[in-house]
């Protein structure tokens, strides 16, 4: 397989030959990822010259990064927004729905209150995660529609909320891991 003609500047959807969508077909993505890995993984160039080996590392890194971005729903939405010329991180506007913030605060407090001495800790965590999940799912659907209609301002606000939820969720997860370890 040739390495020199590979285009490292194409976007991730072009790379996998997929239509731009914030919720791509994951099994198709996976299948195409495997095809590219088979072509460009450095192991395929173990006996090739230095230059080809270096290029293969670059290409495989690019393919891995692209796969990781598109297969993670939040990262994929951020990426789609970026393709529409808007960065999520731009600090031009910081208004956030007060209701949403209130809910965040409550969840955060609920999370902080859970510790290993609490016999219902796992149940509470489970409930919290279910709630966050439901909220995330709703926002993800909205964001998908907003991206579809190129309503970048709304999509960006939605993605910001999603980021909060995602962070909260991973904190809930690491708390669960900790409680799990403590429980042996």
């Amino acid at each position: 397989m040739e390495t020199h003609s590979f285009n490292l500047r194409q976007n991730y959807f072009e790379l996998f030959d997929l239509a731009v969508a914030s919720q791509p077909d994951l099994s198709e993505l996976r299948a195409k990822y495997m095809v590219l890995q088979r072509q460009y993984h450095p192991d395929k160039f173990a006996s090739a010259d230095d230059q080809q080996r270096r290029q293969a590392v670059q290409i495989a890194s690019f393919v891995n990064q692209a796969h990781q971005t598109l297969s993670d729903p939040l990262k994929c939405a951020e990426y789609c927004l970026q393709l529409q010329g808007v960065s999520v991180d731009s600090e031009t506007d910081a208004k956030m729905d007060p209701m949403f913030l209130m809910e965040q605060m409550e969840w955060r407090e609920a999370l902080e209150d859970i510790d290993s001495s609490d016999s219902a800790a796992f149940d509470k965590l489970e409930k919290l995660r279910t709630d966050i999940d439901a909220s995330t799912h709703a926002i993800a659907q909205q964001v998908a529609a907003q991206l579809e209609s190129q309503d970048t301002a709304s999509a960006r606000d939605g993605i910001r909320k999603w980021q909060f939820l995602s962070k909260l969720y991973s904190e809930a997860e690491s708390l669960e891991a900790r409680l799990d370890d403590e429980a042996g």
């Binding site: 390495t3 996976r30 495997m34 192991d43 891995n64 990064q65 990781q68 910081a94 370890d181």
Partner: protein, 630 residues
């Protein structure tokens, strides 16, 4: 077999010529070499028919006097010239060893060098040199048996080996004159050996590897011939050696005798313990009879007592199994194959407990001592280009998170553990002072929040940043991890193109113990970590808020606030400043909340008037701590 094989460019240059290649399992206790001959992977034996080469090197005045079994047999009589378990030292600094190698029978040269050297009659030797001797012996064996030079080898390493240990292993191979196609993780090699890649259906595999000195559990996914490591966990100072030690401790307790500082006696007891352990794999009781100098004792070790001694060791491995499953986001029910690797998995209770844990039969058909070398041989054959039709591909992961030190001694993870390699990740940083012309980057590896608790891999400096206002420079730092898991870090200032690069090729690395410690610590100390982190974050938060508030108030406090309101805000501000000095993150948080509450009216008036954006985002800052999502 196809009559005509078309090879792709970049692969076999001479498709019809079989290239000699071998897989090497460079183990803590034992090492092996294997190759694929007539499509069959075979472990290569020495002239006495022995396939296992004990990883022991003996030196005398003239240099290396023996490697392997003979060296091991002489270990008790000449402990300091006989180096065993050198894998526990590879990639370690003298500092690491001082901290972690207690109980190991090594004598080190006292120097200022960061590379520790073992004292032998043949002079001071580094762990890399000792490992190279073992590799040379295996290379010699392979050449004898295959009748030619090897074009390349695959060497296996524990999944938990960090950057410096992998690099040191590669250096040893280079020293031994070997061309390394690839370093492959031991558990992955084991899965290849079982030919799980030949399966029609996609499958999820757990590889349980309990060797002489290390324990690894890896969860792999196999999908249409592509192996993907989903997660790895381990306890790298755990294995058969610890079982032997547990038996020795039992002997000492039962006999009321002690070994004092007698290294030779210690070795003698360990040898006897190992024999008893082997006996107990088949027999219900092992008779032990010890006689050496003043040490005279005999007794019998029942299988039941033995299994009780092993209980804590097995429990530790199960904790790692749970962790690996969690990292892979899998339930243990979804594991379809459990591969057993390492001599210690011959012990019936180990098999039984693991089988119980995963609720399925475990795979034990291939000799657990040979399985890794066999898998490495299969992979070496493919990488040599002997099997251009092979569909098999290994997708490996970063074993420990890689990150960088940020303000307040916190670690910012740039490549989280278990990310598929090769991988390149760029992160943008900026200057925090006007006219700042240089920037230091500290690269670390580990899971902990605080830099001081992670392993420092290297520091480098980016100089010549053109003078700019604070926050204007755009410094992009790129972490590149190649397919061997080796890291290169580079940094460039985007607007000027100033670049700095460091290839992390250090002379030392994490000790096995240290990795284990780091991982255990990151679980046990998660609580303290979180507390310290919260405190630091709250302090940074307090500073940020005060700076934003001051800037805003300086601009337009008089416009939007009456004196009373201003006073209230200033009081709250003073309160934040005083709590900031305490160790109580909760107090800082409360005082910040209070400040936010009293500033609310100010914020909303400013917003309504659509005046500058200085205060915007302030209200959010409490929740949005770090995520500006990469």
């Amino acid at each position: 077999m196809a009559l005509l094989q078309i090879s792709e460019p970049g692969q076999a240059t001479a498709p019809h010529q079989h290239r000699l290649a071998a897989g090497i399992d460079l183990g803590t206790t034992n090492s092996l070499v294997a190759t694929v001959r007539s499509s069959l992977p075979t472990v290569l034996a020495d002239k006495n028919g022995e396939v296992i080469l004990p990883s022991v090197v003996r030196y005398d005045e003239n240099g290396v006097s023996s490697v392997g079994r003979e060296a091991r047999e002489l270990a008790a009589s000449d402990p300091f010239n006989t180096i065993s378990s050198v894998k526990r030292l590879i990639g370690l600094s003298a500092e690491d060893i001082a901290a972690s190698a207690s109980g190991m029978m090594f004598r080190f040269e006292q120097t200022d060098s960061s590379v520790p050297r073992l004292l032998t009659s043949a002079g001071a030797k580094t762990a890399i040199e000792v490992s190279a001797e073992i590799l040379k012996e295996l290379n010699h064996r392979a050449q004898q048996s295959l009748g030619g030079e090897l074009t390349g080898v695959v060497i296996t390493v524990p999944a938990y080996f960090d950057d410096t240990q992998r690099q040191a292993t590669k250096d040893a191979a280079q020293l031994a004159g070997l061309n390394v196609f690839r370093l492959v993780n031991e558990p992955t090699a084991a899965a290849i050996a079982y030919g799980l890649d030949q399966q029609e259906q996609d499958t999820t595999i757990a590889v349980y590897d309990l060797g002489g000195g290390t324990f690894d559990i890896s969860i792999l996914r196999l999908e249409r011939g592509v192996f993907e490591v989903l997660s790895t966990a381990g306890d790298t100072a755990l294995g058969g050696d610890d079982m032997d030690q547990a038996i020795v401790d039992w002997m000492l307790e039962s006999s009321n005798l002690s070994v004092d500082q007698d290294a030779g006696l210690q070795r003698y007891l360990l040898d006897n313990a190992r024999q008893a352990k082997h006996v107990l794999s088949d027999a219900p009781v092992a008779e032990i009879s010890l006689s050496r100098g003043d040490f005279d004792w005999s007794g019998s070790l029942s299988k039941e007592t033995f299994e009780n001694l092993l209980e804590p060791i097995i429990a530790k491995t199960l904790a790692s199994c749970r962790r690996a499953l969690r990292d892979a986001k899998l339930d243990k029910k979804s594991i379809e194959n459990v591969v057993m690797v390492g001599g210690s998995t011959r012990i019936p209770i180990v098999r039984r407990k693991i089988s119980e844990f995963f609720a399925r039969e475990v795979l034990t058909d291939i000799d657990p001592d040979q399985v890794v070398a066999i898998g490495a041989a299969v992979q070496a054959d493919i990488l040599a280009g002997n099997k251009p039709d092979s569909d098999m591909l290994l997708l490996d992961v970063v074993p420990l998170s890689l990150g960088i030190e940020t303000m307040g001694g916190l670690t910012e993870h740039i490549i989280p553990r278990n990310t598929t390699i090769p991988v390149a990740r760029a992160q943008e940083f900026t200057t925090y002072k006007d006219g700042q012309s240089a920037m230091a980057l500290h690269v670390v590896q580990g899971e902990r929040d605080l830099v001081q608790d992670c392993r420092s891999l290297g520091r480098f400096e980016l100089r010549g940043i053109p003078p700019m206002v604070a926050g204007q420079a755009r410094i992009v730092v790129t972490f590149q991890v190649d397919a061997d898991g080796l890291l290169t870090v580079s940094a460039t200032e985007q607007t000027s193109g100033v670049a700095a690069e460091v290839h992390i090729k250090p002379s030392y690395g994490l000790s096995d113990n240290e990795i284990e410690k780091m991982i255990v610590d990151s679980m046990e100390n998660a609580e303290t970590d979180v507390r310290t982190r919260m405190l630091q974050e709250q302090r940074v938060e307090a500073d940020r808020t005060i700076v934003a508030l001051d800037a805003a108030m300086q601009r337009d406090a008089d416009e939007f606030l009456n004196n009373e309101e201003k006073d209230t805000i200033l009081k709250a501000r003073a309160n934040v400043l005083s709590t900031r000095e305490s160790d109580d993150s909760e107090a800082i948080k409360q005082s910040l909340h209070a400040l936010e509450a009293v500033s609310e009216i100010y914020v909303s008036r400013r917003m309504n008037a659509s005046v500058g954006a200085t205060m915007r985002g302030k209200k959010l800052s409490n929740y949005d701590k770090q995520d500006t999502a990469s």
